[in-house]
Every structure is written in C-alpha cells, then in structure tokens.
Symmetry: C2
C-alpha cells in the first residue's frame, strides 16, 4: 500500500506533471514509497511529451488517497487536492509565491526559478541520484514549457544550465527542435472548445477584494485565436466570471494580446499603459503571466 | 550601502550565528550584497567558536536596517526582527515548522535536518562555491551544537555526511575533541544569572490556547543546576511565566531532567509518563526539545 501520493496543481500543465514524476522517482530512490498523481487530464503539450518519451499518463484524482502527500508546483490550498487538511504534507517543491503553514518541520524547496523541473534537476544532483532518460526528457519538457524555451523573463541561469544537461540525459540531440515541436503541439486550438481555452490554464487571483481570473493560451497566430472572440466572450459570460483576462501569447515572436471582460477597463488600461480596443489589449513583449501580468494588475487593485 | 541583512532568530544560538554567516557569504559570492547580523549577544558556545576560528561577533540589531532581509534558522514573525512586515524577505533557510506567507516568489529551503549549517553546506555544494576554512569551522560548530555531536534524534544522514567534510575544510583534525570542548564551554553556568539560564534558549509555544514557555540548558552535571532550583523557580515567578518547563540536558550521558512551574502538572506527567517530584521530572534519553519535548506536550494540550 503506497504511503504518499505526489500531486501537482489543478489544471495540470507540463511542468506540474514532469515535476510530480520527478519528485516521486527521486523520493522512491531515497527509500520513500510514493506515487505520482494528477488532478486532471494532461494538456496537449503534456500528451505530446508523454508520447515522445513513451510514458503513461498519470492516474487522476481530485483528492489524496494516502495518509501523506507531496505537493509540487503549488503550495496554496486553493490549487491543491480537496482533502489537503486531512493529510500530512511531507515535501513541497515549488516556484510560486508562498503561503503555507503547518505544525511539524517538513521538506520545502521553493525557489524563484523558471520551472519546478529545474529545481528537481538540482535536487537529483544534490542527492547524487541519476535521472533515467525518459524522466529527464519529461523534465526538459517541463522546463521548456514554463520558460518558453528559455525565452520567458522568468528564466534564470539555473534553467539555462539545467536544460542542456537534461537534454543530454534524455538523448535529445536537438532540444530546440523538440521543444518548438512540443510548444506548437500545445497551440493546436482547433479541437478545443471556447470554454476549454479559457479554463485550460486559468488561475484565480484575489486582488484587493476583486476576484480576478487570468487565463493564458499559447499560439503561433494570435489573429487565429482572436477570430474566435465572440465565442470566447460568450463563454466568459456563460461561466459567470466577473473579471476575466485571457492572455494570448505568440510563442514564435514573444508577444501577447489580451481579451478582457469585466467592469474595470480603466484599471486594466492603467496597469498596462495601453488602450483597450474592442476589449482587446496589445501587450508587446509580454509572455509571462507571473512576472509581467499579475504584478502590474496587483499594483492597480 | 548594503541591500540585504541576514538575520537568525531571537536569543541567537550557535547554529543561528553560523548559518547567518554562511548564508551571507554564499549570497555575496552569487552577486548579492548582504551583511550577516544577530538579534543579540553570542552565547558561550558561540563565543568559544568565534574565538577558536578567529572571527568577530556579528553586529547586533533588533530590526532590519535594509530594504531586504534573509531569514535563517527561523521563519515565524515572533522569532524575527521587529520590522519584518516593512521589509522584503528574499530568502529563508530553516529547519523548523513552517508558517510563512508572502506575495512574491522567494527562495525557501527548509528541511527537517539537524542544523541549518548542514542545509547551508549542501547549498554551497549545489552552487559549486568553496567554503572558506573559518566559515566551515563555524558551520561545523553550528551542526555540533544543534545535534549534540550527532547524538540528538534530530540528526540525519545529511548531518553525518556534512560534519566530517566541514571539519576537513576547517582544518580540524579531531572534530570530536573540538566539539566536546565547545559544548562544555556552553555549560559553564557559574557566571550566568538564574534569569539568563531560563531565557537564554527559551521559546514560546501556543498549545491549545495554553501559553507555554520551554527553556533548555546543557550541562555536564544536572545536579549542579538543580542545586539552583530555588533561585530558578523564583526567577520563573518573577518573570510572570504561567507555564514554564526548563529542560536540563546532560550532554555527556544524553539524559535530561526538567524543572516545571505551572498549573498543569497532571498533563505534564501524562505527556512524559513520569511523576513530578518536587517540581522535577526525570526525562531519560531526552535531548531534543523539538523532537522529544514539544510533540508529547502538544499531544496533551
């Protein structure tokens, strides 16, 4: 009977899946008895990486079925399993803002680095444990996804050091080509519903009492996404979101535009020093929600 | 002008001073501009180690004088500088229970290991930065102090690995002899007042609404400390502590006795499954407040 399940955040993305797999393997090598889990279906990037490296998708559950839990790529209860209060958190590996409290010492490694996969890479190194090729490939994919192939401003020297080393362990000779193919796989929106595009990577933020929801979607053609504006806006209304910003990011040229629905257009314009035109805001040079979207909004609200 | 000060907890002990020095040096090597500080005078062990390795005591302040702060060996506001809310926490290195929250990603390494000096040793290793001999000596001292020369049940394999490597870097051929001399230096209570013995290492705990204060003092002769029972008890009353447990630990034989003043003698006896005799409780095999004193008390209250 497994003692500990390892969970990433809700709406699992590539880095959350990769770091759950990596943390579980590392801890098992250190004598723990853990199982990597996911809170939902893999997204398109993750499916691409799992198939490429011939790995199975993770078992899905919204609650932890073991007495102990390891959290990766999140630390806040709102992002976590439903029964977090009833299980013992033994480890946290994360790169987000921190808000966590418990009554016994536990293992926390949270660093403001580009991806949790990078943090896990250095955890393996510190423990002197080898990373199997397939897991290294998954970790490289998580790193690429969260840093947009090292182009996001969230990228650190630690990420730049880890990616070629993970690529080598994975046996990927041309990691840039693989990375671009994986990112592009994540941009095929033709089969995704409007609601799915909104919710796929959306996170909720409380900004001065204002409940804000911010989604992000990667593409190679922003206009193709904006052609679905009517449907996307209708879906926002249907879901009952009062304030929703959908950031549409061009991964080839590292720019974004955002689609906004809500009652605070002036603050949005002030935050980004740009005008909303028919609900659309130009965000030149913006690729990171965490570094370039959330902080200016927090400054306004 | 320094940008960041590095602070350990109130009532600084050996490990808090060693980890402040280590963290400041490591961060400066990585391009930061930091200064190691202390919230109070060094204790006897720390003075012994500073003199042995020819290092100056740290500057003392109860508040952070820079816009940024690094916390070592603590994470809770009650243990920290007075103006914690007004400065930005950039890094935390700790091994205590965790209760911290902030709005931007920061660097947190908190592990349930024997000492923060051990955690710092592996941080240097991960960053590929050499530890100067004197700082290695101080870190070995912090590790020895917190683990009672690797004898405390808080000791992990990471501590056992780090100590000989730090000793080698410090040029200490007989680390056991040095460590015992340092621990003994910390047990000279003849020059310390009753109040100082109580408060020197005391920490406050909220146990089910009960405000508990638990002190600990190391000795090579428990009876010598108990000979001062009348004075110690009078000092407890004078300080207005409602519930005070002073754990007196024999570092040669790894045993403790505790002196108790308070209105919950039955719970104390139940927690440790032993009888109070004239306010004194026998605690055979107990050396760690964190692992062997706090948890049974938390179970009772």
């Amino acid at each position: 009977m497994t003692k500990t399940q390892v969970f990433g955040h809700k709406n699992p993305d590539m880095d959350t899946v990769a770091s759950a797999v990596a943390a579980s393997y590392l801890l098992n090598q250190q004598g723990e008895d853990t199982q990597a889990m996911a809170q939902g279906e893999p997204n398109a990037e993750t499916k691409f990486a799992l198939e490429h490296f011939q790995l199975d998708p993770l078992p899905i559950s919204q609650s932890c079925e073991t007495p102990q839990v390891v959290l990766v790529d999140h630390n806040e209860a709102a992002q976590s399993v439903d029964n977090l209060d009833d299980v013992q958190v033994t480890h946290i590996y994360d790169h987000h803002k921190f808000s966590f409290s418990n009554s016994t010492p536990l293992y926390i490694v949270a660093k403001p680095w580009g991806s949790v996969s990078t943090i896990m890479y250095f955890e393996f190194k510190q423990a002197g444990i080898e990373i199997p090729a397939k897991i290294a490939g998954l970790m490289a994919s998580g790193l690429i996804s969260d840093t947009l192939l090292l182009k996001s401003p969230t990228t650190t020297d630690w990420d730049r050091q880890a990616l070629p080393e993970l690529a080598k362990l994975a046996g990927e000779d041309d990691i840039n080509a693989y990375g671009m193919a994986m990112l592009k796989a994540g941009t095929d929106l033709s089969t995704r519903s409007d609601k799915d595009i909104l919710d796929g990577d959306a996170k909720s933020f409380d900004m001065g009492g204002h409940q804000f929801r911010i989604g992000q979607v990667n593409t190679v053609d922003i206009d193709e996404v904006l052609a679905r504006k009517a449907g996307l806006t209708a879906a926002m209304k249907e879901e009952g979101y009062e304030d929703f910003l959908l950031v549409i990011t061009d991964i080839l040229n590292s720019n974004s535009k955002a689609l906004y629905l809500g009652d605070a257009p002036e603050q949005i314009e002030a935050a980004f020093k740009n005008k909303l035109v028919d609900g659309v805001l130009d965000l030149p040079g913006v690729v990171s929600r965490k570094k370039q979207v959330v902080p200016p909004l927090e400054g306004q609200f």
